[in-house]
Symmetry: C2
């Protein structure tokens, strides 16, 4: 099943949208979607409502067939039993594509399945491709289309998201944006009565604005096609996916959620591996991996150098690295010499590099040690748990205003050097910092985001990300260049 370009344009970059079920009632779907649609002036918006004269100040039509102009996309937000009839009117009107938000179809049982089959038949015969039913909407930040009801503006960026759950999708959008991740396209696939996850994957694989594809998957309707597409895609851009429903009760929950079969977890694991899909556990891990993919190079191998300001932090980071499958690199004698030259004599003299309680006033030392690690040929990635990107509030506990200024200037120079050196060495640097120091502190957040340094709340999270990156690099080396 492929969808012609014109259908994709009607779905994600329509020139006109009819919203059938538009509403003036705050807190309703028809209101929320209408509100989002009106935030862009790139297209004509036609609210359809049989009783209201105007919706949010825009003249409303009694039926989609009464709309004078062309309608590219119909957004349908009426109760399930009415949807087939509305779809029939869309066919009559010559609508090219639709989004069916309404729930109450196959996910509710036999009756709903019958209704869904009717809907598919009408749309199929009328040449309408559609998202849903039971979808929470879709987004294209570049065409400025948003049919979501329950979230604010979506930040534009290079990440596409295909989600078999609207709510999980919203969580990923919300979480991702809070970490500075921007999105190109989003689709809540709903019951996939017509368009399947595989169709969206094919579309987003070809989308130039999309650099990383992410997905929340409960079950695949076209498993073979998915794997073929994934194999073709992952050698060009990474796919990061949650596959849910791998346990007994969660698989049962999948059946009553999107009416699909979760399938064997082991089969998915093997298939994803074969196709180069990075499989993550939840939305925190998904955002963790995406941040690293966006900002850092892939490591050549999984040998990690660990740089910390304290022995205990090094112990915890080494343990996390080993438990996540990384190798704690053995430093070369030349690196040991370089570190001897810049660190106090009490430093650990091995990896993890414990800088042995150097004070904040010695911040340039952190960068000297970092350069030594980056130049070490046995180190392919670095976990950095050191006072880089401290908040002014924390610095104020120790320094005067003038000292803080000097600290910032010195740090600024070192960070400029770092930005140049990361691509040169091709070694990713992942920072470890308590969430409170990063996500909750706008100053630190904007500093480290500008530097494109990914930050993780624990060494375990950072190590897991590095292991994903190293695995993906191995996959590309084996399948990308030769395959």
């Amino acid at each position: 099943m492929t969808t012609r370009d014109s259908h994709w344009k009607s779905l994600f970059a329509p020139d006109s949208v009819a919203i059938i079920g538009a509403s003036n009632t705050r807190g309703s779907w028809g209101y929320g979607i209408m509100r989002h649609l009106l935030t862009s002036d790139k297209r004509k918006i036609y609210p359809v409502n049989p009783t209201a004269k105007k919706i949010l100040g825009i003249p409303a039509y009694e039926s989609v067939v009464n709309i004078p102009g062309v309608v590219d996309l119909a957004v349908i937000v009426v109760s399930a039993p009415k949807v087939p009839q509305i779809m029939q009117q869309c066919v009559q009107k010559g609508v090219k594509a639709a989004l069916v938000v309404s729930g109450g179809f196959a996910e509710t049982g036999k009756q709903g399945s019958k209704l869904e089959a009717e809907l598919v038949k009408i749309a199929g015969e009328g040449g309408i491709r559609f998202i849903g039913p039971n979808s929470m909407g879709h987004v294209d930040t570049y065409s400025e289309l948003c049919t979501l009801a329950w979230i604010g503006e979506i930040t534009a960026g290079p990440v596409a998201l295909i989600s078999q759950s609207g709510n999980v999708g919203h969580r990923i959008l919300h979480n991702g944006m809070s970490l500075g991740i921007g999105f190109s396209k989003f689709v809540s696939t709903g019951n996939e009565a017509d368009l399947h996850l595989e169709d969206y994957l094919e579309y987003m694989a070809q989308d130039e604005k999309t650099k990383v594809i992410t997905a929340y998957i409960e079950g695949l309707r076209e498993g073979r096609r998915f794997l073929q597409l994934a194999r073709e895609t992952t050698i060009k851009k990474p796919i990061v996916a949650i596959k849910a429903g791998g346990t007994k009760e969660s698989a049962r929950a999948v059946r009553s959620h999107t009416a699909t079969l979760a399938g064997s977890d082991a089969v998915y694991t093997a298939a994803f591996k074969q196709a180069g899909v990075i499989r993550v556990e939840d939305d925190d891990e998904l955002c963790d991996v995406v941040t690293a993919l966006l900002y850092q190079p892939l490591p050549r191998t999984s040998r990690v150098g660990i740089l910390t300001i304290g022995g205990g932090l090094g112990v915890v980071a080494a343990e996390a690295s080993e438990r996540e499958g990384l190798e704690v690199a053995e430093l070369t004698p030349s690196t040991i010499e370089k570190l001897n030259a810049c660190l106090p004599p009490r430093w650990s003299h091995r990896n993890p590099v414990d800088m042995a309680g150097i004070s904040l006033a010695e911040n340039p030392t952190v960068f000297s040690a970092l350069w030594a690690l980056m130049e070490d040929e046995s180190v392919d990635a670095i976990l950095l748990q050191a006072p880089v990107g401290l908040s002014t509030k924390r610095l104020s506990a120790i320094f005067t205003k003038e000292e803080i200024k000097a600290f910032r200037e010195s740090e600024r120079n070192d960070l400029d050097l770092l930005r140049q050196r990361i691509p040169k060495h091709g070694k990713p640097i992942l920072m470890v910092k308590p969430a409170v120091e990063f996500a909750s502190d706008p100053e630190v957040f904007s500093l480290l985001r500008r530097e494109r340094l990914p930050v993780y709340s624990t060494p375990r999270r950072a190590a897991r990300v590095l292991n994903h990156l190293a695995w993906y690099k191995r996959y590309l080396d084996t399948n990308g260049k030769n395959g």
Copy 2:
């Protein structure tokens, strides 16, 4: 080895403190500690510095022996080779207890071990008990003592922390406070040349202000004593501990950090289980568990009810619960009936309870469903992933000011009911919410903290906490009441 009460008082609630190595140099240890000591007027502070006339405006003494009054506690921050001589002067002065911050002892090799042995001999013969060397300091929030150099004020509360790493300890303090956790006492144990982790454990087990004891452990010097103490303590108050160094390279890092043996990971796992110690992986998990222990009752068993606003969220939560060892409870027919009465017909009709896209305007429905789950005899704990505690910013996208006010009032009433019902039913409620909606939003944070509702960024984290609580409850049932 036990330490008489007078020594503990001198260590954690001294009437007078000499700080040997006090400094006017911002960014130095001697400055940072002095600064903290001066924040309380509960005791006399005597800075000792051979060259300065005054430290931070306080008259300084050339040596501890020159101090006119009694000195309960000496804080030693001079270079390692000078420490034995300083300790000798402390003996001469009649000092009762000491904290040795200076590093450069057993953790650095043979020479340092010799120096440490000398230090132990002098203190032992002179009747001084001491923390360290190589300690980052200690805290008693009730006596208002803080000998830390690199952190702001520590919030008072019921959690004690014993850490074999100063930096990991600081991370836990910092992280914990950002989540609203307060601390009674903290000690960075350093090399434990004199006082051992076991001594602090014994002391904190008896401390009335301490309701939960937490620890970061690399290696135990008195394993048997630890287990005996832990067994006696955990039936009265929980112990939550990180045991690090369980892999090859991390065990090597432990040796060069605190000069201890990490020991077999399997042995620790078994021993902790036998002694009722809740073992966690990192500081995020430690704070996760502590929050639940402080705010919620223990579940009778591990049967969990899951309440969500979307099917996908339910799938992910069910999977996380099963993977973490919980049982997804089977709802009784009477609960199904109650839920039929309050939820839209499309609800999942089983656990996980997917409320099927109810809108925010239907928030009271969330609480009706919650009451039904709480009353179900087959449900012993609840994972709640629903719009409770939304920020005004998020509500503003949907509601008018008046509607938000009404929403808040209705939520306020329901939360009051919830606060009464949790102890009545004895069923813990753990919320799942993206970090950005909780930790980063002061409004939501203060609302949910006031309600004592623990919040976790993913279902996996919440499920892991519940599994710890259920395990601890089983331990208490087996060992507490009968043992």
